[in-house]
Assembly symmetry: C2
Homo-oligomer: 268 residues x 2
């Protein structure tokens, strides 16, 4: 390759890092790719870090030692995240989102990739200390959020299904009580999807009584995995007593006043 | 903001562009954000373009005029894409993926965000001329791929469901014949999900006879939308006659030899 200017190299380095959140690249990998000495690469990494920090676009971490390298961690200031969520709460509170049964229409928002990508990054930023190795969700509406939380952590998603599918080999299944409807339902996971002792973060779009989330946690534990956390796009304020203990949510839905067509929802 | 070095500004510009594929940013937006004159910004944009092109990491387009601006288009050389798909075909052909019923286990791959992101970019690159405004898929396994194709095009996803859900308001539904099982099934779409005359690209993970894809196309047309294309992760070679006409696929599955435990699959 012809000699490339430093600026072009730093652009390429930025793209590779930010496109692969949490992925650790060895210095050797980049030195070879860019045909530069380690000292030159170190300066380039510092430039990327400075540029991202100056504009609140995330953090670059370097890890020393033989197993070391460089990686990008998506994050924004608390203020920027709050502004983003407050703006989104206004959209969620639009009266035409009111559906029968005390629910709100939100599928359109949960299927906008740019928006969900940011939500996934916010959840990952808040739950980084949990060090999950897998994201678990249940079909269907929480899948995009689960995928973008997983992207931010550079880990895979496993999906539980409401019924076992013949296309996925042998499955483990459990019966669980849906907290809202009090009905007994079945949830299944392909046996090969989750290694035992894996650290699992449960993600779903909506949590009311917590029955589905509890089902997922039980299913994960059934295959020997460890549930390290549960996070939701929206959790309702009522019922106050949930079927799961610790959880986090991006929004709390306090009330839907169908008569006056008002939705009371705010970032948590 | 204190005066920031050019290098840092170019890093931030790179991040913003590559994080928002296809999104057109006005020059004014960046001039204001970076507090620079338009001539300076133009030089910065040229630097980002040169860096990405030098390492085959995508393209930066500038559009002139009042409605103009700058945007990032994810793409790689045909050679790089072919290498990526050939590598993935080897993984798909692992004998332990053989399931009963002439299917292969691929959910693990379809739920790895980094991998699916690249697949989404390849599909978007190949189908750019179709100019879709919406991606349509049906629950469940094709959702991550649909979301990443949508991300690459900067458009939303609409999801058809096998049964109408009470949480999504009024729905349009159709009955369709599943090509493989010959059974009559129902598929539904929330009425508000898709505006009429929208240009829709149908995405799914697996296509055998094409019954499900045909159902999606009919459902889209039922609400007045226009289906501009259909793309799949895997299409089977048999049956040769499909229930849909034009389509593209990343892989063609030629044969599963359960006796000798061999999967014959290759990039298309």
């Amino acid at each position: 390759m012809a000699r490339v200017k430093r600026m072009e190299r730093v652009v390429a380095l930025t793209k590779q890092l930010v496109d692969h959140p949490y992925q650790l690249f060895s210095f050797t990998y980049f030195c070879k790719k860019f045909e530069v000495a380690k000292s030159t690469l170190s300066e380039d990494v510092l430039a990327v870090r400075a540029g991202l920090e100056a504009y609140d676009l995330g953090r670059v971490e370097t890890l020393a030692g033989a197993a070391g390298g460089v990686r990008f961690i998506p994050c924004h200031s608390e203020k920027a995240n709050e502004e983003f969520l407050t703006e989104l709460a206004l959209q969620l509170a639009e009266p035409e989102r009111i559906l029968s049964g005390g629910m709100i229409y939100m599928t359109d928002l949960l299927f906008k990739p740019q928006l969900v990508m940011r939500l996934g990054e916010i959840i990952a930023q808040r739950l980084r200390h949990l060090e999950p190795e897998y994201i678990m969700t249940v079909e269907t509406r929480g899948i995009p959020l689960a995928v973008f939380v997983a992207r931010a952590f550079n880990i895979p998603v496993v999906m539980a299904r409401r019924v076992g599918q013949i296309t996925e080999g042998s499955t483990v299944s459990i019966n669980y009580v849906s907290g809202s409807s009090k009905q007994i339902q079945t949830m299944a996971l392909p046996k090969r999807a989750l290694p035992s002792s894996a650290r699992v973060l449960v993600i779903d779009d909506f949590m009311k009584a917590g029955g589905t989330a509890r089902g997922m946690a039980e299913l994960a534990e059934e295959v020997g995995a460890k549930v390290v956390g549960k996070a939701f796009f929206i959790a309702t304020q009522e019922p106050e007593k949930k079927m799961i203990d610790d959880y986090t949510a991006l929004f709390v839905l306090k009330d839907i006043d169908t008569e006056n067509r008002k939705i009371d929802i705010s970032p948590l």
